[in-house]
Symmetry: C2
Subunit: 209 residues, 2 copies
DNA sequence: ATTTAGTCGCGAATTTTTTCACAAGGTGGT
DNA sequence: ACCACCTTGTGAAAAAATTCGCGACTAAAT
């Protein structure tokens, strides 16, 4: 099987499968079929098998998958068999929420720093991390070997912050600002636009009836 | 042109185009080509034209699109030519951040209520809205004619909250909890999983080198 | 009036993703 | 040992989404 290009949709589903498997482990389930995973997360069983087939053969014909084993494979595939250091730029409501979001820590994402320009925010404690001034961006990225920058600043400064992150050496950026960011080709960029999601709902509500 | 099924990716891009056009309006731009929109938001010009073609002919050959006019069409298509009432269930960090997120109000989403079970949170003011007890769910949805429910509760109670929202009469649900929700066929459901986004980055960092 | 340069709309071709369908392999009962 | 029954892995088919290519149309310059 080709390993060249994995569909992004596949990667997102793997992440969802892994979480479902984790839940099953908690329930003491030891073996599961593609059909059951499919039903559990709302896709087709062929989809589950195809997604897994990109990376190897993890099941046993006639039987299914060992939950714990498959979970381990998925975590490895997703790069979650290690910790990642991330930095959050922007300690507004969204940045704070992300900093305190347990889901990140649970999956091995360690928040190395959270920075802002606003003196009122600097010094605030968010969980274990204290908000620091933006000038420390380069220093913090380098000293903590930060791989991922999370951008939660207003649109007008998003590109500027992004450039600084790239220069400091982050390899990937998760952008929550409603701005199209330019990054060099070797930097991985993902955009999460909260409004877009609501607007897709709005479209469906308005359009389909 | 077929109106049957609009790709979800198209809808998401329309939302992005509309925001870019709004920015251009602010800059005083009056006319724009598909190629310029494409460059501005990072897709191909054919993609822009194809996306728009699902809904009609908005441009002038040889000239391009009138920014304001196209913006108006897009807002109408997206159902943003009116206001939507939404309710947020879960006043934790994420729910609070969403409640205070200016981006929603800017696009016509009006937060009718935000509810929680935690007595410590009830009574807190988030912008113009006060956190109220979860028991008011049915009442608030009905009296404010709420169309969209936003679920930001812990995974274990997400399905329960969802069922209550559906029973109360919401037509769409935006789910931020890491749980696959079951809803009737006529209810529109979208999932936003913040961890998935980080994990796709993690995968790309780990896998591509 | 004609030419030149530019741009849209859209059918067709291409690429990508999903679904189908079944051979291969495994389990448990008799 | 054989049979009945499962479930995976995967090539092939189908479906969906994107890109290509060009005819149709516009504006502006000469």
């Amino acid at each position: 099987m080709k390993v060249y290009k994995i569909p992004e949709a596949t990667v997102m589903r793997l992440s969802i499968y892994s979480r479902y498997l984790h839940q099953l482990m908690g329930e003491g389930v030891e073996t599961i079929s593609s059909g059951e995973i499919a039903h559990g997360v709302g896709v087709s069983s062929a989809q589950v098998r195809k997604d897994l087939a990109y990376f190897g053969e993890f099941g046993t014909r006639g039987v299914g998958y060992k939950v714990e084993e498959l979970y381990g494979h998925l975590m490895k595939i997703l790069g979650l068999d290690r910790n990642w250091n991330i930095i959050i730029i922007g300690a507004g409501k969204l940045g704070s929420a992300l900093a305190l979001y347990q889901g990140f820590a649970d999956r091995g994402f360690n928040i190395s720093a959270i920075l802002d320009v606003d003196p009122d925010r600097i010094g605030n404690k968010l969980g274990d991390v204290k908000v620091e001034k933006i000038e420390l961006l380069d220093k913090r990225v380098k000293e903590s070997n930060v791989s991922i920058g999370v951008v939660t600043v207003p649109a007008r400064v998003a590109q500027d912050v992004t450039d600084k992150l790239v220069n400091a050496g982050v390899k990937a950026i998760l952008n929550f600002s409603p701005r199209v960011l330019r990054v060099p080709n070797d930097i991985i960029l993902r955009n999460v636009d909260l409004s877009v999601n609501l607007e897709v709902l709005s479209f469906n509500l308005a359009f389909n009836k």
